[in-house]
């Protein structure tokens, strides 16, 4: 009985915070746009009783999903988002792994400080941090001033409002999500395993590839998912740092909602995005499950 009560609490939250909102979005995506408040029809009206519910049900259709396939903007935006998310995740891994490795191999008394430094940026608003990148990356920004001052370049580099700026923004923002799981995997690594590998004839580098990397695999996978999933639907970074050519589904979604006031199409875009995201989330969960089994 008490066990059941314990399980009910998380399921209740899942229902209230995920499933109910999702069903509302799904309902809107099956509606038609209208000049009204809210800007779609039909709306569920219980005052007409059973007939009202039947009418409501009959008015729902898949028109908006069909519309998404007719305009190639949408699938291009999905593909472009996927590409940006994959590349950005890979770049974050390249930057994050050495940092996590350095932290895990730092002297014990340094580790809390290093951990603090990784988490510290979260204490400032995410929006302000992305804005400050505009100041760094713009044509008159600090980076160009520095490079021109050192004589590396004569013309300012155009970084802001390109995909490069988006990658920089994503790597910067999501780096801690990559570092922390990898660090926790590396920290648990038994140092005698590396000594054993060396004892059996490995050089330091081979020992790293054959022992350290496979044993931090779960951290790498967790970090990659933690970066990939929010990046796919990212809206703030591409709209502030990206240019007109940066096509991401988060931005398209925002424009449908607020510029076109087409809630049903926007909801359809969101439903598809969720379906795309559910695949990596399921993969992620299965990985976690496998890891728990291996540990148990």
């Amino acid at each position: 009985m008490r066990r059941a009560a314990l399980i009910i609490i998380p399921y209740f939250w899942l229902l209230a915070l995920f499933l109910v909102p999702f069903l509302i979005v799904l309902k809107i995506s099956l509606s038609d746009t209208a000049l009204a408040i809210p800007p779609y029809t039909p709306t569920l009206d219980f005052s007409n009783g059973w007939q009202g519910i039947k009418d409501f049900w009959a008015a729902l259709d898949l028109e908006n999903f069909e519309f998404l396939t007719t305009d190639d903007l949408y699938w291009k935006a999905y593909l472009s988002s996927l590409k940006i998310a994959v590349i950005a995740t890979f770049l974050t891994l390249l930057v994050g792994y050495p940092i996590a490795y350095g932290m895990a191999n730092a002297p014990d008394h340094w580790r809390p400080t290093l951990m603090m430094l990784v988490i510290l940026p979260f204490w400032t608003s995410f929006l302000i941090r992305v804005y400050s990148w505009m100041g760094i990356l713009s044509n008159e920004g600090y980076l160009n001033q520095l490079l021109m001052g050192m004589g590396v370049i004569s013309e300012p580099l155009t970084i802001l409002n390109t995909n490069t700026a988006v990658y920089i923004g994503i790597v910067y923002t999501y780096l801690p999500f990559m570092i922390l799981p990898i660090y926790s995997a590396l920290e648990r690594l038994d140092a005698s395993l590396l000594e054993a590998a060396e004892d059996l004839g490995c050089s330091r580098l081979t020992a790293f590839w054959l022992v350290t990397v496979p044993l931090s695999k779960n951290g790498i996978i967790a970090g990659c998912f933690l970066v990939f999933i929010p990046t796919l639907g990212e809206f703030v970074i591409p709209s502030l740092l990206g240019g007109s050519k940066t096509l991401m589904i988060g931005k398209v979604l925002w424009e449908e909602f607020f510029n076109n006031r087409d809630w049903p199409v926007a909801s359809a875009v969101a439903v598809i995005l969720l379906l795309i995201l559910i695949i990596p989330i399921i993969l992620f969960q299965r990985n976690e499950q496998k890891q728990r089994e291996a540990d148990g």
Binding site: S192, A197, E198, D199, L200, A294
Partner: protein, 374 residues
Amino acid sequence: MGQTVFEPWNDPDAKPLIQFKNVTKRFGDFVAIDNQSFDIYEQEFFALLGPSGCGKTTMMRMLAGFETPTEGTILLGGQDIAPIPPNKRAVNMMFQSYALFPHLSIWENIAFGLKRDNMPKDKIDARVAEMLKLTRLEQFAKRKPHQCSGGQRQRVALARSLAKAPKLLLLDEPLGALDAKLRQDTQFELMDIQEKTGTTFVIVTHDQEEAMTVASRVAVMDHGKIIQADTPARIYEMPNSAYVADFIGDVTIISGTATPAGDGYDIAFAEGQPILHAKSDIQLAKAQSCHLAIRPEKVAITAEKPADAANALQGKILDIAYLGNLSTYHVELANGQVVKSQTANTRRLSRRSFTWEDEVWLSWTDTAGVLLKE
């Protein structure tokens, strides 16, 4: 058909496999190994025994190549090994934690070192199969380490470190993680495998019983120094110091002053107690202070004073430790000195002759005790 006794350390022509020459190792101000020189011979099973922090692990890590001596040289087969990194040494180590690779199967763990040598595939297969057979792990080849019991993991670690056929195998507390029963069986298994492969083994342990069981020679260490290195029997019966006598097995140490008498000494140890007699070769001046170390099993316990014992003392039973096969009596003399006596319980359910507070006589011959200098 007599078997030749294996004791190369007594043969002046024998070439040692390993030579420590004035080796000192310091960590900052701390002296871990203090100017030690000794030899280990081929096919030996050499045990480094001592309390934690005595430097035995440092000694082993220097052989493996994870530490380098601060001063002095270590020779392996006549060659200085200081410049050779661990991955190039013909030395393998079995780690205390076993250090099995958790992401690899038992088979892959054993093949790990062979693959690094770019051995052809069929030879790797044959060698791994041989190692699995040697350690009786054939059915477990496909399992991962976490699916194996402690005893099986121990055998995998042994198979992995033996796979490359090293000249020297180092074992760091190899049986420390096993329970007492399994540990005993494994000790004999280790000796068997050592004999079959003919590999030189160096074992580090803090368990004196384990060292005595498996080793051809035992080196007792303390504070970075080898106090005595000898066969288990000589270490036990002829310790060279009170430290060794006390560290190995059970012992009673009586401190007194020696006076030469015949081919031995008379030892006076307390007011009102009889003079003790011990035969000894050591040189002591008159009235020089000394220790007499006596093993409890060499002390007889009787109700009446024995007629013709070289040494006889009267006391009162303070404690009795019943160990099943043996009983150890702690007998307190009038001056407060406690002497231990051990008797074998040869008969089942025999009447216990003595109990607490009984007045008893302890006696031993003049060759039973070992006389040690201060």
